[in-house]
């Protein structure tokens, strides 16, 4: 924090107010205002938005069927008919990357949502009711958090076997303790708030208090947490697929595209490695930038 410095001779009230965002109007205005204050966040938002649009409109953007093989264009160089080249089986890289965005997005969103949902439930129960329930869930959380996200997902995926649903479940499990911890600590503070006591004084049941009065007040930080988790979920999917435990053939997954080509073709057809790698990096970069900006914007100390 800095303080008002020595008095400047003239102050431009209009400019100062514009800087403070006094003229911002409406939802769109707020987004523009925040974008100007957090240019990196805006970049992140653009990347994520592009990623989502690509995933949604994949059939219109892709030039080929991502699953169609064509012996004639096996290992075709980028340019010409195949914008980003083609793989050993002659499948168009550009189209596979476009469709790969779908897989990444589905797995990322679904596993984050699932993880948050379970995490919120666990955190709320252990924070609000306390006692031995809290003790047990806390220790389980500690164990889960002691293992690296990827290792945990690996074990889960290996146990469940490769399929889209199983990958989602495997990735969502490590999210649970992170979310549960945040919800639990918020719940502990909220439990003592006068408005919760007021609800109790009216004769409201504990379940109703927990769901109606405590839960809605714990959710703001989860939004921040979820944006951060989205990136790592996408990364975990790519890693699992790279290790052969992720999305099964023939769906195009960036991680598996990378692993299929890395060993054999990195020298002879580097585009098979470079482009999926770039796609993964770009999306993770975007979600991280966006997540940081959202955290800054929602931080109560930032608001006045």
């Amino acid at each position: 924090m800095s303080y008002a410095g020595p008095q400047a001779q003239a102050v431009d009230h209009g400019a100062e107010l514009a800087r403070a965002g006094a003229h911002v109007q409406g939802w769109g205005g707020s987004v523009l205002y925040q974008a100007r204050r957090h240019p990196l966040g805006a970049l992140g938002l653009l990347i994520v938005a592009a990623f989502v649009l690509v995933a949604l409109f994949a059939p219109f953007i892709a030039t080929h069927d991502p699953l169609a093989t064509n012996a004639a264009s096996s290992l075709a160089r980028p340019g010409g008919e195949h914008l980003l080249g083609a793989d050993f089986m002659g499948r168009d890289m550009w189209s596979r990357i476009i469709y790969g965005a779908r897989i990444s997005l589905i797995v990322g969103i679904a596993s984050t949502l699932l993880g948050c949902l379970l995490g919120v439930a666990v955190g709320l129960i252990s924070g609000f009711w306390g006692g031995w329930v809290d003790l047990v869930t806390q220790r389980v959380n500690d164990v889960l958090q002691a293992l690296p996200l990827l290792v945990l997902a690996l074990v889960m995926a290996a146990a469940l076997g490769p399929s889209l649903q199983n990958v989602i479940i495997a990735i969502s499990i490590p999210v649970i303790p992170n979310v549960a911890r945040v919800i639990r600590s918020n719940t502990l503070a909220l439990r003592e708030m006068p408005f919760v006591e007021a609800a109790r004084a009216q004769g409201m049941s504990e379940l109703r208090i927990a769901v109606l009065h405590v839960l809605p007040n714990t959710l703001a930080p989860v939004i921040v947490l979820a944006t951060a988790q989205l990136g790592s979920a996408i990364l975990t999917e790519a890693s699992l697929s790279f290790l052969g435990l992720g999305i099964p053939e023939p769906y195009p997954s960036w991680g598996r595209m990378l692993s299929e080509s890395a060993a054999e073709y990195v020298r002879t057809a580097p585009w098979l490695v470079i482009f999926p790698g770039l796609a993964i990096s770009l999306v993770i970069f975007g979600t991280n930038l966006l997540g940081d900006a959202i955290r800054d914007i929602l931080d109560p100390r930032e608001r006045s």
Binding site: G5, R19, A20, A22
Partner: protein, 354 residues
């Protein structure tokens, strides 16, 4: 205790302390604005006052009236952004603090001007001992050795009547009670023997018996050290018992100013009058009929600073308001010697009406 606060005040008030030729602190036309998403907030709008050595000036008002921002502006501690001091001067013995560099200002803070805050717990560093925190300021400003500073810290703790000062100096803030912490804050504030002490609601967080101790202490030390005190408070009782002059603020502006007896005898602004009528009084006899004696209310609430009415800010809540009040801000006028008010209808209040 040899002399009580009230008794000392009595002698002081009757002897009418000769106004010093030059005030220690003279604030003129101070303007502190906040630039926020909600618009331009004129938190302090052309506020002037001065305090002499050994004098106590009280700034009274409700939350959001700008009294604390005034003190922070004097200390040049207004958080920026969103705050800016956009006009006026703050002269400490003739030197304008608003023109100093941050480096020069640091030499002034805690040395020539000190401030004590409402919440003694959050204003003390929890990981440093009380003695360390007091000697910190001395080492910083007075160029003394660590050992000498510590000795002086203990001496200060004794001065603010903390029992066993040697032991307390080695303790941490959480080991002290609320009253003790506020005493330690005062010891810290006065360690460098400042010319001006800004006290922002120094007793609001304290219990009433402790409040009495702390006020007594501030007054006694002021007399001994000749400090000029600016006391910021919302409590009219505290004002009546401690201050010589009073400023009443409303929505960022001064609305009335007088010596303490004139202000309480004959308030010349409807807001001051309303405030005095709205507090329950201990010194009034008990009528026994509960429902009958209603408190005088000021209707409505303080307007938000980003939506002040065009005329007098108090007009929407004022029973005396006329069209003129709604249209034009009243000039700040001296109605009796030393008694100023910003009200179009102050003469009607002078007649003893309303």
């Amino acid at each position: 205790m040899t002399q009580t606060a009230a008794a000392r005040l009595a002698t002081g008030a009757e002897a009418a302390p000769a106004p010093a030729a030059e005030p220690v602190l003279a604030v003129e036309d101070l303007q502190t604005y906040f630039y926020t998403r909600r618009g331009l907030l004129k938190a302090v709008d052309r506020v002037s006052f001065s305090v002499g050595a050994g004098e106590t000036l009280a700034i009274v008002g409700e939350s959001g009236c700008g009294k604390s921002i005034t003190a922070l502006s004097v200390m040049r501690l207004v958080p920026s952004p969103p705050g800016r001091i956009v006009g006026g001067s703050v002269r400490l013995r003739g030197r304008d603090l608003l023109r100093l560099s941050e480096e020069e200002m640091r030499q002034i803070r805690g040395n020539e001007i000190s401030m004590i805050f409402q919440e003694p717990m959050t204003s003390l560093n929890p990981v440093l001992t009380i003695g360390n925190q007091i000697s910190e300021a001395l080492i910083l400003h007075q160029d003394v050795s660590r050992k000498a500073a510590m000795e002086r810290a203990v001496e200060m703790l004794r001065l603010v009547r903390i029992p066993e000062p040697e032991r307390r100096a080695r303790e941490y803030p959480h080991q002290l009670s609320g009253g003790m912490r506020q005493r330690a804050m005062i010891a810290m504030a006065l360690a460098c023997n400042p010319k001006v002490l800004l006290a922002d609601e120094p007793t609001t967080a304290l219990d009433v018996t402790i409040q009495a101790q702390i006020l007594e202490l501030i007054l006694e030390l002021q007399q001994r050290l000749g400090t000029a005190v600016v006391l910021i408070t919302h409590d009219l009782g505290v004002v009546a018992e401690t201050a010589q002059r009073v400023i009443v603020m409303y929505a960022g502006r001064k609305v009335e100013e007088a010596d303490v007896t004139s202000l309480f005898d004959e308030p010349l602004h409807p807001y001051t009058r309303g405030l005095m009528g709205s507090i329950p009084r201990l010194d009034m006899p008990e009528t026994g009929t509960k429902g009958a004696d209603r408190l005088q209310e000021i209707p409505g609430m303080v307007p938000p600073l980003n939506a002040l009415p065009p005329g007098c800010a108090f007009a929407p809540r004022c029973a005396m308001a006329t069209e003129k009040c709604q249209a034009e801000y009243p000039p700040y006028r001296e109605l009796r010697p030393g008694h100023w008010s910003a009200c179009w209808h102050a003469e009607r209040l002078m007649a003893g009406g309303a």
